[in-house]
Amino acid sequence: MKISRNWLQQFVDISDITNQEFSQLFNIRTAEIDGIESAAQQFEHMVIGEIKSIAAHPNADKLRVTQTDIGAKTVQIVCGAPNIKEGMRVIVALPGSKVRWHGEGDLIELKEAELRGVKSTGMICGADEVGLPNEVDGVADMSKFDCAVGTPLATALDRNDTVIEIDNKSLTNRPDLWGHYGIARECAVIWDRELKPLKVATVNSQAKAVEVKVEEPKLCPRYMAVGLNLSKITNDHGVAKPLASIGHNSHGLLVDLTNYIMHELGQPLHVFDAEKVSGAIVVRKAKANEKLITLDKVERSLQEGMLVIADQKKVLAIAGVMGGLDSAVTENTKNIILEAANFNPTSVRVTAQKLGLRTDAVQHYEKSLDPYLTEAALKRFLYLLEQFADFEIVSGVADEFAAPPEPLKFTIDAERIANRIGAPVTKDFISKTLKALGFELVTQGKTELALTVPSYRATKDISGEADIIEEIARLYGYEKIEPALPQVALTLPPKQPWLELERKIKLFLAQACHLNEVYHYSFYGQKELERFEFSHDHVVLKNSLSEEHTHLRTHLLPGMLDGLVRNSTLFDHIGIFEVGKTYLPISADILPDERTKIGIMYTDSNDQVPFVTIKSYVEALLASIGIAYRSASYAPAAHEQYMQKGRCLIIHCGDQIVGHVYELSSKIRSKYKVTTKVAFAELDFEILLAHMNETARMFKPIIKFPSKFFDVSVVVTKETEVGSLLASLSKQHELIDTVEFLNEYTDATLGDDKKALAFKFTLQASDRTLTDQDMHTVQKLVFDHLSKKFGGVIRGL
């Protein structure tokens, strides 16, 4: 929002405060200042010039070479605008001035330049290039300004103002600050100055009031209107200049006045051409298929339920958004109806959104305006109108105000407020500050204050003690509050096992497995659904930003594979992991099943069986967490065509599936154009968390008696799994301490469907030294078991 310092000065004398001081203090007391522009700086080195002659540019078709009189001398300026004419008065920006090329981008300081080989001293500017509203394409025609050639532009425009740009977002909750008067009130408190009262007209009319019917008092809490007959209007009036300084063009006295008051008090007003209004004004909801051509000459299809201002025949305006073209005032309008109304902020905002029409009025109304402001605005309009026009009130003031809100009152405790701030704020300071802000106060007892909130602060931002703490603290000065660490009882925070586990896993994978941690988006899109042939349900974004991000991921695989592909041209060896959420829909009324998953992916151009490496990562990780798990070969289901058959492992924990370890199928790799073998593991963090530390780590005493070893080589069918052999062999005798798989061997002599497996057995008793007889007993048992249970043939027997 733009605030003119000259305008502000009418209400509060802060002429001694420099722009820098203003910015610095207003920032920390009230709201963020985005920037300060003073006309003197903005228009420095810019003058009114007159084009004396125009010649073709020798080297460019679109450029022309002018000789332009700038008073003290004539300079040569190259110009590309098609609308220049000899004798035209123009804005000349001389070297040293700052302009915005074509009204866009950053300000650029002009220097003497050569344009296609022709010297150019400065630039003939379009209005937007010097920060003025653009009225024509091309350069601005300044002929209408009655001043000598060479006059500084600031003088020609009569601009000596400074404009402060306040960040709109920081005023979201302060409807009272959406105009100069509110800002002036704030400044008066900040700098302890007197706030001058607003001059308004006294209305004494016996005329019959404008006929108004409010059918929707909830959406239109208050509607005021007055009918005027105008007899003389001056369009060369005093409000155009302040409006211009905050970037508004003049549109004639009536419209200018409504704009002026909106930027002064924050209350939007509207004027109707009374002759275009048939009968009573009705504030109602739009009916089906109603249409209105708005002021911007666009036909708008209204939706049922949008609040409109209508007469007996037609819609006149979209309430709080924009007026209709037909009932708008023109130069010739003599009879007007002035509207000062209060509308429901949500209704206005939603209507504006649906229509895609965000006007200044919408911006004000959506902040929750004070319903008592309509009266001040209407009277202020009449007061200002008296200065520039002759008029008569032909229809008296209508005021539909179904339910005037009760004043908001509550009690605060000065001591408690000081305590909550943590600063020695006195009751006197609190009283003085609140009074200056417009609160009414009655002292009760020693520390209590009963207060009445001014109506302009009661619609949205002030509702209780916390809000008063803010008012007092900020105006006391946040910078005066001493930091003090909280003094509280010493306690241990509740244990968070997930945190411990997550950190352990990440550190293990990064430091023990030397993998790189990656993050991927929680979303993927149609491309992934198709490539992975996912047929299960997904949680879907209702309003996605792009086709790439429409579905919530149920697997980490698609994102990580994308990541791998992105690196595959640069690296031969890629090892990455991700710990991230996946989201499975359950039903529409409960939250998705959100599970953290651990993804591990590995490829190496020299590794034809990356499965082996990734399995070792997974097993080492599970061991480090202290999880008892079982694994088995896994036959992928039809929908898991991205797994390579014969290279999949499933991991169980209790009766739950922890995850899978596998290589990606050629099918999915070809879709991603990955030529190397890729192994992937996805584990369910939540299941690991549930089983974490289940097997308590206990020291087993080291046995002093020597152990005995023997190796076995057995020929079995190719399908026989080492895993099942190991599981079954270790249980054959109590003396078997460990069974270690040594190697696998295939050979034509064994037969195509056979393989030889070698194992090393370690035997151990905790209470004695083993005898040869012990070993023979176990060996015999093992050999028998291998041959009977697995059809194995022991080699070398």
């Binding site: 943590g422 990656v518 974004l541 996605s544």
Partner: protein, 339 residues
């Protein structure tokens, strides 16, 4: 037996060994010398008992001296042999080693540092759902359905009923209150989502760290002190800060905490838009309505909360110029964050 012979045998052996260049030569010599020693001892056996007693110790000493000469020489030659062998094994030790690799994402690293700081102050570390009910993301935080923040352009809405991708980690505030009640100290690091177009400094997915403390009689000064402590831990030095008004519906009063610009030390530069300050941590005193939503008696307890942009902090810390590097797996980026 002539003892002088014996001494001369030692001298002779020493001389002979001095010119020995190979182990085989030493061994041959050793054999013949030992035979000579054995011969002398055979003579010694024939000595009278008295002579044996007189010369016995000298004989023993003589024998061990001779043997030692051979042992020493063999060790010397063995060492020479090993040295010669090792000299052939010399390698170029300046060849670069193969990178071992392994890294943690910068967001994880910074998050861990912050968790450690807060944990040491007795703050619990919590997590909450990323796909969240509108209630916890909005209503419970005093953001009613009519609030402009609820507009489609800011929030990803889900096909589930009244569900959104959480727009801030503040969504865990009321969940934490429900679970633990007051007093409470907690932080929530995590992923948040906004329906925003991507560019170098905006992403629809980014990270925040929420912090909240609820107790009796907490002050604005308390919040300020903890924030200063946090920044000191993070940057390793005292950071000048200021509070100014900021509006967030779930805090009252609400603040923007600015830190003195690190680039210009407060003098004003292009990074801080000439203000000397950089907006860093939105924070405030928890709104009583939020405490009430969490079933905490707002007349007894109060609190403060902050929500820090972790992604931005990481970018500041490592001078990362594009937020989009955070997502995706660019190893040229990630491998710079080895542990």
């Amino acid at each position: 037996m002539n003892l002088d012979d014996i001494q001369s045998l030692i001298d002779q052996t020493q001389d002979q060994l001095g010119s020995c260049k190979s182990l085989a030569h030493v061994e041959t010599l050793e054999k013949s010398t030992k035979q000579e020693v054995d011969r002398q001892f055979a003579i010694f056996k024939s000595f009278s008992a008295e002579d044996k007693k007189t010369h016995g110790p000298r004989m023993q000493l003589w024998r061990s001296s001779v043997y030692k000469l051979f042992d020493d020489k063999k060790i010397e030659l063995k060492n020479l042999e090993l040295e010669a062998l090792e000299s052939k094994e010399s390698i170029d030790v300046t060849i670069p080693s193969k990178a071992i690799g392994g890294s943690l994402h910068p967001l994880t690293q910074v998050q861990n540092e912050l968790i450690d700081t807060f944990h040491s102050l007795g703050f619990a570390v919590m997590r909450g759902p990323e796909a969240e009910f509108e209630y916890y993301n909005f209503e419970a935080l005093n953001i009613p359905a009519t609030h402009p923040a609820r507009d489609m352009q800011d929030t990803f809405f889900l096909n589930g009923q009244n569900q959104v991708m959480r727009t801030h980690t503040s969504s865990v505030q009321v969940r934490a209150m429900e679970q633990y009640g007051a007093p409470l100290r907690m932080i929530v690091p995590g992923r948040v989502f906004r329906n925003e177009a991507l560019d170098a400094s905006h992403d629809h997915t980014f990270y925040q760290l929420e912090g909240m403390m609820i107790d009796k009689n907490l002050t604005i000064g308390n919040l300020l002190a903890v924030m200063k402590l946090l920044l000191k831990e993070m940057f390793g030095r005292e950071i000048k800060v200021r509070l100014r008004p900021g509006y967030f519906p779930f805090v009252e009063p609400g603040f923007e905490l600015d830190a003195e610009c690190a680039i210009c030390s407060g003098a004003g530069c292009s990074v801080c838009k000439r203000s000397g300050w950089v907006e860093l941590i939105p924070c405030g005193m928890i709104h009583p309505r939020v405490l009430e939503a969490g079933k905490i008696d707002a007349s007894q307890y109060n609190g403060w909360a902050f929500g820090m942009g972790l992604s931005r902090l990481v970018m500041m810390k490592y001078k990362i110029d594009d937020i989009r590097l955070m997502q995706g797996a660019d190893l040229r980026f990630l491998s710079q964050f080895a542990l």
